[in-house]
Symmetry: C2
């Protein structure tokens, strides 16, 4: 039995997967060599030396261009599993927050304003109406009005999942044309439930260990949430390791914003632009992206590790070390946005810092 | 027996200590109340909610002004304990790096350029000459040409220690006039040895546990370093808890840049400007500042925790949670500079984010 080397032929998803390349090993080696000659003790920049080398590998040149300007795409969608009473928040809050993002009133807007980053909101499946009109900063790309209830059946069709993935690809490619760093953002009441289901489906984790309190649910609600995740994951069966089965698992237990985020990661990788992952929603979507196209994850960095327990499970499975750990559990892209200056600093150091030779600084003996 | 409520009367140090006030509890409460009404789940900004409240308490108003622009002061000095072969780096590297800072070639310059921060280098005790002239960005405030060897006797006189502390105060007050956030920086070959001695003297920690490899020393060098720290700390005796004994301990086993950094923290606190602490050098100096003037530490934040083991010991003793943990061990102010955008983000969120009422977003039920 042979696997088709080109999954999803004739689709934007298939074309994007085919376009993704691994990082450039020569550029990465050149970065490591330059880091060793810079006027600082060897290795003293810790994790940022790995980041600097990764950026060179992504860009295919050393030093890498600065990962600026930064754009965060906030993918918004609703979830049929809301009917299972797994959250105390009304579903309308997704649409209300879309309006809040559009007016610049949310935390992601404040962080973006402080950092000079752009915010784009993408409605990929909001269930209710909102009181603002689409603009070039609020894109209407609705695939359906919220998913079906993943507790009782598939959240969406495989075709819908692919279309939502392709929304993410489209947004990433457009933003990559004039941005040096893409940041994942998300909004969707109940989306930590779908995230936990994806994490369990793609890693084999125990639903009790990977399902968390999200925006703050009580014990009975958490118990319902774990039961829902357990039932949903059972329908997926064994861990999806091929692109086709990954897309099917996404359709079965995921969300429309998860699908779009998986596509966003693929699009960034195809465009050779670093993508900073936010919290548990992005982490679960990245598991899908990794199964759709393993080399795509070489272009991703984990902005932070959130307080939601499934996030650490996902990051371990992805082999990503988070840059920040601030007990954030907000989503919207907030944690990843805060990590963007660290990534830019690593790139700037690789570009600017003098070497021992050029600066006339003596190296240590022995 | 009564303690003089005004230590060091008639000196800039005494005046500064007298000027330091605790944080404003009312402003801090107002910040907590606003954070609870902002359009986000309660507590979802994690550590940054504490930062936002602290900034309001420091400024005495809610929301606090943005902690910008940022200035990092790099205090440079040499150490007589270099004679004990506790580092593989020649002492001249301190002066060479001062020239590198002045020319903009060091990592601290790269990070500052990326963040739009100002860098000021302060020679408070460099032992050898450097090939650049003083400017308003390279201040000559030399108290002496390096300390004496703390392995065999006092590193400096108490009078010299006080003068170096007052250099730090002067620099902090000058920078606070036109900056919203001060960042500690340091350069001094062998200064992790003096830092370990201060940490052990002020916390009672075991020299074997608090002394690290600094810029990367081998096992025999580390053993010599621990032995030197053990001998030096024995001369200090019991933990210094009064301002006078803190200054004496600083003079006995500290460094001139440690003294200046302690003063820098006091000056920032007196000016009600937040001060971001860098690594183990700043952490050990902050222990001195805390003993000189306990309320001063209410105005400090720990930018990161470094790979040097004594740093975590110091932060625990100070009750500070570091914002970053990236295995940095460079100094210069690099780790604290990277944390500055997080602090600014917290302040910006407190200023900008809409409340549930104002944005028309429904709160969770129950």
């Amino acid at each position: 039995m042979t696997t088709d080397p080109r999954p999803f032929p004739g689709t934007p998803l298939g074309d994007t997967i085919a376009a993704v390349r691994p990082r450039d090993a020569a550029a990465e080696r050149a970065a490591r060599e330059r880091l060793a000659r810079m006027t600082k003790p060897p290795g003293s920049l810790g994790v940022l030396e790995d980041v600097a080398a990764q950026l060179a590998g992504i860009a295919g040149e050393c030093p890498a261009p600065l990962p600026t300007p930064v754009a965060v795409a906030v993918f918004a969608a609703d979830h049929g599993v809301h009917a299972q009473r797994v959250t105390p928040w009304p579903q309308e809050v997704t649409a209300q927050m879309v309006a809040n993002f559009a007016r610049g009133g949310a935390v992601v807007n404040a962080f973006a304003a402080q950092l000079g980053a752009d915010v784009v909101v993408v409605d990929v499946g909001v269930a209710t109406s909102y009181a603002v009109e689409p603009t070039d900063r609020l894109l209407s790309r609705k695939v359906r009005y919220g998913t079906a209830d993943l507790a009782v059946g598939p959240a969406m069709t495989v075709e819908e999942a692919r279309r939502a993935v392709e929304v993410g690809i489209e947004v990433a490619l457009a933003l990559a044309a004039d941005h040096g760093c893409l940041v994942t953002g998300d909004m969707g009441i109940t989306n930590t439930t779908a995230s936990a289901a994806l994490i369990c489906a793609f890693t084999g984790a125990d639903p009790a260990a990977a399902t968390g309190r999200g925006t703050g649910v009580d014990d009975p609600t958490l118990a319902r949430k774990v039961a829902v995740v357990t039932r949903a994951v059972a329908r997926v069966g064994e861990r999806p390791t091929t692109p086709e089965r990954a897309l099917a698992a996404l359709a079965e237990v995921g969300g429309l914003e998860h699908a779009a985020l998986a596509g966003f990661v693929l699009g960034a990788a195809a465009a050779r632009v670093p993508v900073l992952l936010d919290g548990v929603i992005a982490g679960s979507a990245a598991l899908v992206a990794a199964a759709l196209c393993p080399p795509a994850m070489q272009h991703a960095l984990a902005g932070h590790v959130s307080a939601e327990p499934g996030h650490a499970v996902a990051l371990r499975a992805l082999g990503l070390r988070p840059l920040l750990g601030l007990d954030l559990r907000l989503g919207e892209g907030t944690g990843a946005l805060l990590a963007a200056p660290l990534v830019a600093g690593a790139a700037r150091a690789l570009q600017d810092v003098a070497t021992f030779d050029s600066a006339g600084v003596t190296q240590k003996s022995g």
